[in-house]
Symmetry: C2
Subunit: 973 residues, 2 copies
């Protein structure tokens, strides 16, 4: 209505055009890559033509060796659809079908949840092709074609969206199915279809169906579904149709076309359901991507004992070992395996686990389709050049492939697979580097259970996702989330998990389920999250009334501690101590390759010799942030610190500082020794002094007594030091200016320690860092204080040659804005992105909890700016700071020491900007090393294979390379 | 020692060169201006040549109609030196002398407080010229030349630095002086010289001399100096020489040359004394300017009754009236008038005040020199084109001019003089605009004493500086500073003031002194500060033991209130109510001229109809910031506000908001009515909610009772709302996102009020402003909330046409950094420079008090960034924000509504950047109007006369015009 609105309305078409253009160029890029590979292998016509056609096409047929789509079109077809098309082209047996593209998802939403007429028309045409291939007709009472309708997004979102199977059945076609198989099967299929369609499309609560089934079983005196016969199912069909009529006020749709459009619409709608939203939130998937819909001829794994359905991985997804690994269920539908309701059989000897050691394998039971499966898996892995997660169905002895995709894997497996594939020359080393998600490495480094600790093993389940978890038992996802927020570590214990449990799994240290196999929901999701999981623990039972649980016959209450070993499958009572893992050879090799490639060096944030030792083990090339204040909190020291703060005169303060001096010196000696000549950046005291004072009445009294002053005087000091906004108050270098004696003591401790260690023959590279600089004159003043103190110490050590670098944090926005001035007095900049984010975003980390979740929920923020650098805002400030600094001093050393230093996206951002180093917590050092290598590969455009773009959604990259290039140029000078 | 230091050392010469080049170009600019004027009047050779010579020359002779310097060289010669040269050139009788340039001040300091040999040589040569002009010789026992040695900086610093008179006297030359005058005079002069030299150069405590004088008087039974005769003085000379020997261990120097170098060095040293430092700090004078030294032949106003010394102004410095105005003392030395120790006589009838009504005037007593003085003052004012403050001495009936400079004046006088001079065509209107310091206008607008209020007048003094002051009595400058810091208003009451009292005068509302005339230290300084001052109040007496005072026979204790009327000179007991002043015609005229010139519009920050009314009276063109939260604090409303906050459900909250709605609507109705169609920017709720809740136990109980909830629940809410860093917490638009119902109520109140006022026939231009926007999506979301609420209201007023602008504060650094995105949804930006400064500087205004003073003391900060926009840091952010916003939306309206909006330097900065408006408190509206006009003149380079640069030291202007120019271009489109 307003002028602004009109202007905005005018702008929109242009904006859209922009997007389309970008999308088109992305596609043509993809097409180019395709060209390369296709010409090598198949050479079917000009792919540019194909790409053009593809841009207009919305329905993509596949079947009998021919397909409109291909693997590279996953943005448009979703992962599943693209791979069904690709497999079809490869000559792999795939039931025919068609894919409605992801573009239609947005159109559908925009059109008020209607399927566009043109799409319906094209789908109908594709359906007729499917009929021809299958020799069956949709809705034909004698040879009815049945189809499945499934979602399929660009990025896999297992179980998040809806699926309908057996679509096309109605009161008439069910008879045709009975003729093709048998009556029991046909009626069972029909009642399953009604139940599924009722649930997914018609939104009838599923317990309404389940209670009718339970009644029927009671009535028939049956415990299991298998005990029911065709007539039972036929009667249940009537009841189910009644349920539908009751809940929807309409008859269950008999028209197969109506069924089809209903299911397609439901799948599109399911893109917007809460589960899917949540999943996207956690995995950073943009809502605008949309899902495709795959409509595919049904094949049945549950038509008899010559039927089966299974899931397999071309390599072991837990360990990465190069063995064909899978599970199957005889006479079952595909969803049964994934749902983990029946414990499946191993497909071969290599897939045998403890609980399936005595079960027959597919290789034994159906050798012919198994050999076919082996042939296909090898072909697929070679074609896709990655470990594949495949789904298959055997109908009356005939093998059909239903899906292939890059398999989810543990971090351990990812590393091993990447390294081994590079050794096998299936991929290049650079591709191997790009294949591993840096974030996932962290789990490899976290402690595992101490192998020597006594274990009170109470039960054993499937080792579904490796690692260890120690935590309090919680029985629901909500509880898990709530308790974890208070800082407690929890283990989520469930009968089985479902997509509704995602948030709880996210919050938990580990997951334990009573049911489900290695490919159950719990197992797949936990591996993706890098969390420890034990599934299918048959000895786990829930009290019928809720409340407690029994594991291996012992009672446990919620809140009690248990320990899981995801590698062995052992469930233990209590807390088992953890120990550091041994890192395998593949990991070391991958890191070596990464180190050769990366340009940015990786340091660690370490305040203690222990941290420093751990970080060196992880490959840290120095300490980027050594916070001196943490050293003050040790019980033996805090008293001296408090005396120093409460001192009534500079003389008293100096005396207290003299007590602290040897302690600080000792800390530095040990850290310098550990780091053996690698740079160690020590930040001088930063937090406001009141952080060191007690606040409770009892503590105040205690401190007053210990220090020999009055309670009133301690209280007075507290009151005087209290601040309205301590973040923006008397801290950082401001302390150094108000109390120069404190900084002098610290500089003395650093310098004396350095002299001591050097005198012992170990090299030392101390760097002294001043926090919270906002104005160049603060740095100028403090630099001369630091220099004079260093000189004073060195005067007593005439033989020691030492030139500590003196630099500053860039954590105040003004410092970034005036970096050109500040660089006059700084040997290095270290971006403190935590505070920079707090200040430039007006976001107090301590207080943001009250509104930040709402912000993420409402989509105002895409991600937590304290985890991933906000490139648009904070990132711009960083660029300004870097450019200003380098303008004054082209050789200025620049790093980052905020939490972001260990976040891969942020590491890549820093690398692009031209940073010299990143610094992060010890466990994230390998993460940063790998991320830095990937950044270098991206910049060089040299990764050789498909760049792992989809994993880095939402990153803007335009123009950010410039600084990096400049930097590279600067180095040459 | 470090590499850095070396690099810095290498850089220095280059940097210095840069400065020199700049300085040179400044000089050549000055020279060009000189050329213009000189060619008009004198045409003596090429001034470019002169300027070149001047750049090398360090000692500048003047005397007998010839001078090396001229008025435009004040940077080099200081104000006094430049004007002595200029007066000499004009043919005005000036005792000959020479000026050692300000450059030498730095050289002196750098050389370890030594006068460079070359300077000494040139000075000697100049001294010989002086000897020739005077026909006397320095150190000649028969006709000894005596000289004065005085400081003289670029900007006048009255009384801050040292002066030595009668230099050249020694045991031998004193006899020569006696021959020229008489013995008593000669010995008196000599003892004065020893005392002054001893104090200033030799650092002998002056009480050491005074006690000897007191002893002598006791001994002689004399009360006054005049009762002592030549022999007394002669004996005192011996005693003084003893004092010098005692305190310095050396004899008083007898060599006139040694005396001279000692005095010159002392003057240079005095540039660095504490008083001078403090004065520079207060007045923003850079330390690197340095002082010049003026050595000038002595003339004596104290050689007898045909001698006098005086000070005069070419117009009345209090009122600006065009009358010759001055005071003199017969038979006295110059310093006696300024020191205010004797009450002086008026120079003419126009200069008569109450206390001098019956004293004879100079016109009466010495008609010939008075007529000469009249001729000279007219010449000087016409030449300098400004009101002059002149010093003169009459020696044996002969008039000598010792100084001329632009006279300090009250704000009232400044306005009147500027306007009248423009009317007289002495200056242009644009010059008139540039002549008035915008800051000073504020005092014209502040309330004066209510003329109808009963006055308990206890005494009467000189109306030394107009205005009114009400405050508690304090008796020392330190006390004044201390008490004022607690927020108390104080009146400084002193015997007389000295430069040591500057900080106390700064802190006080007004100054009352017992001694001194209209040109005493207290009077001059107070007028400069725009503070009310009554001097020479003879009925003011101090208790001998300290403690209390008596005024007009009544006792007052420190801490009691008194009231001063600086316009009438009345001192009153207690507090007199104040009333708004009537603004004179000159003020209105100047404002009219300014309004025609300026480009930036001026709005006001007003939260109430009363504020709005006041601001309109001062010429506000709209409201730039109407803070809605202030409306919430009224006792009748705060309860509803608290109910709203403590509401346990949205429904309860909505109910409380319904109570508030009509109240808010009523506020807006009245404000809109006052503003009559001028834009009114209403900011939606900004502060964190806990600010509205009580904190003391008693209040909490009271509120709980009033609201009908439990104390515990109020406490729980308080605890829940408490924040670690509220500045960066849950406030601003974050409240609007968490509690949209609050913002909806406010928008409804604004829109309904606008409809009501419009329906009544008065135009309304509401603008709705969202605070604390950090991310474009916050604004996007809230804009649509605001728009939908407006539409909902307008649906009920089909006949009202209303399109409120919707815009945002730019107060979060990230908002400035992403302004291009934010402008997509904003009709206007208003820079909230208070918060922008807090965040980008990491400076909490509430907490900075603990360290900011240290920062200013140590010279880390030049000025308080909350008063003057920090152009380098915050200003850069503003530029980024403005450029980003205008890039997206060239017609974006941009303003400022922080406190800086009324600070002239900041207004000029905003004008240069291309802002559309500034908004400030009502009293500063005229200040901003004038500052904006001056900015426009500066930009246009059209001020015609000398731009008032010295008043705006330290401003960087390079490149800042570009945005402004762009903007002007944008407007044309």
């Amino acid at each position: 209505m307003t002028a602004r609105k009109k202007a905005a309305a005018k702008k929109k078409p242009a904006a859209r055009k922009g997007t389309t253009r970008k999308a088109a160029s992305r596609k043509s890029g993809a097409a180019k890559r395709t060209t390369k590979r296709t010409t090598k292998r198949t050479a079917t016509g000009t792919t540019t033509g194909t790409a053009k056609k593809a841009a207009a096409r919305k329905v993509f047929f596949f079947g009998k060796g021919r397909a409109d789509g291909r693997a590279e079109m996953r943005d448009l077809l979703g992962g599943k659809g693209a791979n069904l098309a690709e497999m079809t082209r490869l000559g792999v047996p795939v039931p025919p079908g068609f894919t409605i593209s992801t573009d239609v998802c947005a159109e559908f939403k925009k059109a008020g949840s209607r399927i566009p007429a043109a799409v319906k028309r094209d789908a109908l045409a594709a359906l007729q092709k499917v009929e021809r291939v299958m020799g069956m007709r949709f809705g034909d009472p004698s040879r009815p074609l049945l189809v499945s309708v499934r979602s399929g997004a660009r990025s896999s979102m297992p179980g998040m969206m809806d699926t309908v199977l057996n679509l096309g059945l109605n009161d008439r076609t069910v008879a045709g199915l009975a003729q093709l198989a048998d009556e029991r099967f046909a009626f069972d299929s029909y009642r399953r279809f009604i139940q599924m369609y009722g649930d997914v499309v018609l939104e009838v609560p599923h317990h309404a169906f389940e209670s009718r089934l339970d009644e029927l079983k009671d009535h028939a005196g049956a415990d299991l579904d298998t005990e029911l016969d065709a007539s039972h199912w036929r009667s249940l069909i009537d009841e189910y149709q009644e349920v539908v009529l009751e809940h929807t006020g309409e008859r269950f749709p008999q028209d197969p076309m109506q069924q089809l459009w209903g299911a397609v619409a439901a799948v599109f709608r399911s893109w917007e359901n809460e589960r899917a939203h949540r999943y996207r939130e956690i995995h950073g998937i943009p809502g605008e991507w949309g899902t495709a819909v795959n409509v595919q001829a049904m094949v049945f794994g549950n038509m008899g004992d010559d039927c089966a359905t299974g899931v397999a991985f071309t390599r072991d997804p837990s360990t990465g070992e190069r063995v064909f690994y899978g599970e199957y269920l005889k006479n079952a539908q595909g969803e049964d395996v994934v749902a983990g309701i029946r414990t499946p059989q191993p497909i071969n000897a290599a897939s045998r686990k403890a609980d399936s050691a005595d079960l027959p394998t597919l290789a034994e039971e159906m050798p012919r389709p198994f050999r076919e499966l082996e042939r296909i898996y090898k072909k697929l892995e070679k074609h896709y050049r990655d470990m594949q997660d495949i789904e298959f169905t055997i109908q009356n002895g005939e093998l059909w492939m239903l899906q292939t995709r890059s398999g989810k894997r543990t971090a351990e497996a990812a590393v091993r697979i990447a390294v081994e594939m590079a050794r096998e020359r299936l991929i290049t080393r650079n591709e191997a580097i790009s294949r591993v998600t840096p974030e996932s490495l962290e789990q490899l480094l976290h402690p595992r259970l101490d192998p020597d600790a006594p274990r009170d093993v109470v039960a054993r389940g499937l080792p579904a996702s490796p690692g260890a978890a120690v935590g309090r038992i919680v029985l629901s996802a909500d509880e898990a989330e709530t308790l974890a927020k208070t800082g407690e570590k929890v283990v989520l214990v469930r009968q089985e998990t479902s997509p509704d449990d995602i948030h709880g799994m996210h919050a938990a240290e580990g997951i334990l389920t009573a049911r489900g196999g290695m490919t159950s929901h719990a197992a797949v999701v936990a591996r993706g999250m890098g969390k420890c999981c034990i599934s299918g623990c048959g000895d786990l039972h829930f009290d019928p009334g809720g409340g407690g649980i029994q594991i291996g016959g012992r009672r446990f209450e919620p809140g009690e501690f248990i320990t899981l070993d995801g590698t062995s499958g052992e469930v233990m009572a209590g807390r088992i101590p953890t120990a550091m893992p041994e890192l395998g050879g593949a990991f070391a090799e991958l890191m070596r390759w990464a180190d050769k490639v990366r340009r940015v060096s990786v340091r660690t944030n370490a305040d203690t010799p222990a941290d420093a030792t751990a970080a060196r083990g992880f490959g840290a090339e120095g300490i980027g942030l050594c916070r001196t204040e943490h050293m003050f909190f040790e019980p033996a020291r805090i008293l001296a610190v408090r005396e120093m703060i409460l001192a009534s005169s500079p003389a008293d303060r100096e005396r207290a500082l003299e007590t602290l001096l040897p302690m600080q010196r000792g800390d530095f000696v040990r850290i310098f020794e550990v780091m053996e000549g690698r740079p160690v950046t020590v930040r001088l005291l930063d937090p406001p002094l009141h952080e060191f004072l007690p606040h409770s009445d009892a503590e105040i009294t205690e401190v007053a007594k210990a220090i020999g002053t009055s309670v009133a005087s301690v209280r007075a000091s507290l009151a005087e030091l209290e601040e309205t906004n301590p973040m923006l108050g008397h801290r950082g270098c401001r302390l150094g200016i108000s109390y120069p004696e404190i900084y002098r003591m610290q500089v003395r401790a650093i310098t004396e320690a350095a002299c001591e260690v050097k005198a012992g023959g170990v090299d030392v590279k101390p760097e002294i860092m001043l926090p919270l600089i906002a104005h160049v004159r603060e740095l100028e003043r403090l630099r001369s204080l630091v220099e004079s103190e260093i000189e004073a110490v060195l005067a007593h050590h005439p033989k020691i040659r030492l030139r500590p670098h003196i630099g500053t944090m860039i954590e105040v926005p003004r410092a970034a804005l005036t970096a050109d001035q500040i660089a006059e007095h700084a040997d290095f900049f270290s971006f403190g992105t935590n505070d920079l984010t707090q200040m430039a975003y007006a976001l107090s980390r301590d207080d943001a909890g009250r509104f930040l979740p709402t912000y993420v929920d409402h989509g105002i923020l895409e991600s937590d700016p304290f985890v991933v650098v906000d490139e648009e805002g904070i990132g711009r400030l960083m660029r300004i700071g870097l450019e200003g600094g380098r303008q004054t001093r082209p050789d200025l050393k620049v790093g980052i020491c905020g939490e972001h230093g260990g976040n891969p996206a942020s590491v890549r951002f820093c690398a692009r900007l031209g940073f010299d180093y990143v610094s992060c917590s010890p466990f994230r050092v390998p993460v940063a090393r790998l991320a830095a290598a990937q950044a270098a590969l991206e910049e060089a455009g040299a990764s050789g294979g498909k760049p792992p773009k989809t994993k880095r959604a939402g990153q803007k990259r335009s123009g950010t390379n410039r600084a990096g290039k400049k930097r590279a140029g600067g180095k040459k000078r």
